[in-house]
């Protein structure tokens, strides 16, 4: 290993914080969607929306940070299509981390339920109440989430392949403590 960090510590923290948020927000959304109307469902809906707003803000912070701190290029030998696939998945994940909370926010507005972040900060309603539009945005929110599920699956599978089949240190780019133990 070169010992040079591919990503800044901030970028690494942002990545894992985002992963944690996604891995909580997604199942909360799934579960609440299946629940019958109850106080618990209203609670979970709010938590889901608050988490979503957090993701929305965090992805913008990440993009700004990334624009200012270009990561070192991935220096492993693999076919060109794999490089492109990795790049493509990363770009799409950024797009989805932005588009999914946005579609949720729009859906809430169209359904006539404002988003009040943490129960304190009311976000503006971006659309007027419109049932048909609300239902369409609900479908879109779901489709985007299914897409993200597939892409996250590919992202994780690829990182495990690099780690356990290729042994090329790619995963350690995002896990600096692995870097330390493998470079001794």
């Amino acid at each position: 290993m070169t010992g040079v960090m591919a990503y800044t510590r901030t970028a690494v923290i942002l990545h894992w914080l985002m992963a944690l948020l996604v891995f909580v927000t997604f199942p909360v959304g799934l579960v609440m969607h299946e629940m019958a109307l109850s106080p618990d469902k209203l609670r979970m809906l709010s938590y889901h929306k608050w988490l979503g707003v957090t993701v929305f803000v965090l992805v913008m912070v990440r993009l700004v940070w990334r624009a200012m701190h270009k990561p070192a290029p991935l220096d492993v030998s693999m076919p060109r299509w794999q490089h492109m696939a990795a790049e493509g998945v990363h770009v799409l994940l950024y797009v989805l981390l932005f588009a999914i909370p946005l579609s949720g926010w729009l859906m809430s507005s169209a359904k006539g339920f404002q988003t009040v972040y943490l129960g304190v900060l009311p976000l503006p309603d971006l659309l007027a109440k419109n049932k048909m539009l609300g239902d369409a945005l609900s479908e879109l929110h779901e489709a985007l989430n299914v897409t993200m599920l597939v892409l996250v699956g590919m992202h994780i599978a690829a990182s495990l392949k690099h780690q356990f089949i290729d042994h090329d240190g790619t995963l350690a780019r995002m896990l600096p403590f692995m870097n330390r133990s493998s470079s001794k």
Partner: protein, 181 residues
């Protein structure tokens, strides 16, 4: 002849002032409410109600109102919520299909504002309420606009699990807009 016209003109304002409005134009009137769910204000509406109102803007203190709301006509913001609030723990509409307000007195609050006192009956419970309102005459029509708050749990609306006011707040604002002819 001329003198008679002059006399009639002089009388006109008297007639205008003593006009009593008795006919509520229901299609142009509405009763809405705002509840807070997890701190989010959610607007709802009662689509069907009847109203007997008599009010003279020159003498509102002599006015009276009797309003009956068809609770099954509620739109609480989503179809899921509409089914829920008609049920037993909320309005229990099969047992108590109507809510009513009957005024007992009207007093002036000054600056063109008034307050109707009366009994609001929901789910068989009659409680005193005070509803401030304003009057505005416009092209032969009278606008009556008011807003007051009730505590839903006083009437047992949303009991059991739903009694948790950290999810659905106890206070519910009720807004009314009546157009009278």
């Amino acid at each position: 002849m001329k003198k008679i016209f002059v006399a009639l003109f002089l009388l006109l304002p008297v007639f205008a002032e003593s006009a009593e409005y008795t006919n509520v134009l229901l299609e142009k009137s509405n009763i809405t409410f705002v509840s807070r769910q997890m701190s989010v204000p959610v607007e709802g509406v009662f689509k069907k109600f009847s109203a007997k109102v008599r009010i003279n803007p020159a003498k509102p203190e002599a006015g009276m109102a009797q309003i009956e709301i068809d609770l099954a006509s509620i739109d609480a913001g989503s179809s899921e919520a509409n089914d829920e609030v008609k049920g037993k723990s909320w309005f229990s509409v099969t047992e108590f299909p109507k809510a009513s307000f009957v005024s007992s007195s009207v007093k002036s609050l000054g600056e063109g504002k008034f307050e109707a006192a009366g009994k609001l009956t929901i789910k068989g419970k009659a409680l005193d309420v005070h509803a401030p309102f304003a009057l505005k005459e416009d092209k032969g029509l009278l606008n009556v606009d008011g807003l007051f708050a009730i505590n839903r749990l006083d009437y047992g609306i949303g009991s059991g699990l739903w009694g948790d006011t950290s999810v659905v707040a106890n206070e519910v604002q009720i807004k009314f807009h009546l157009l009278l002819k």
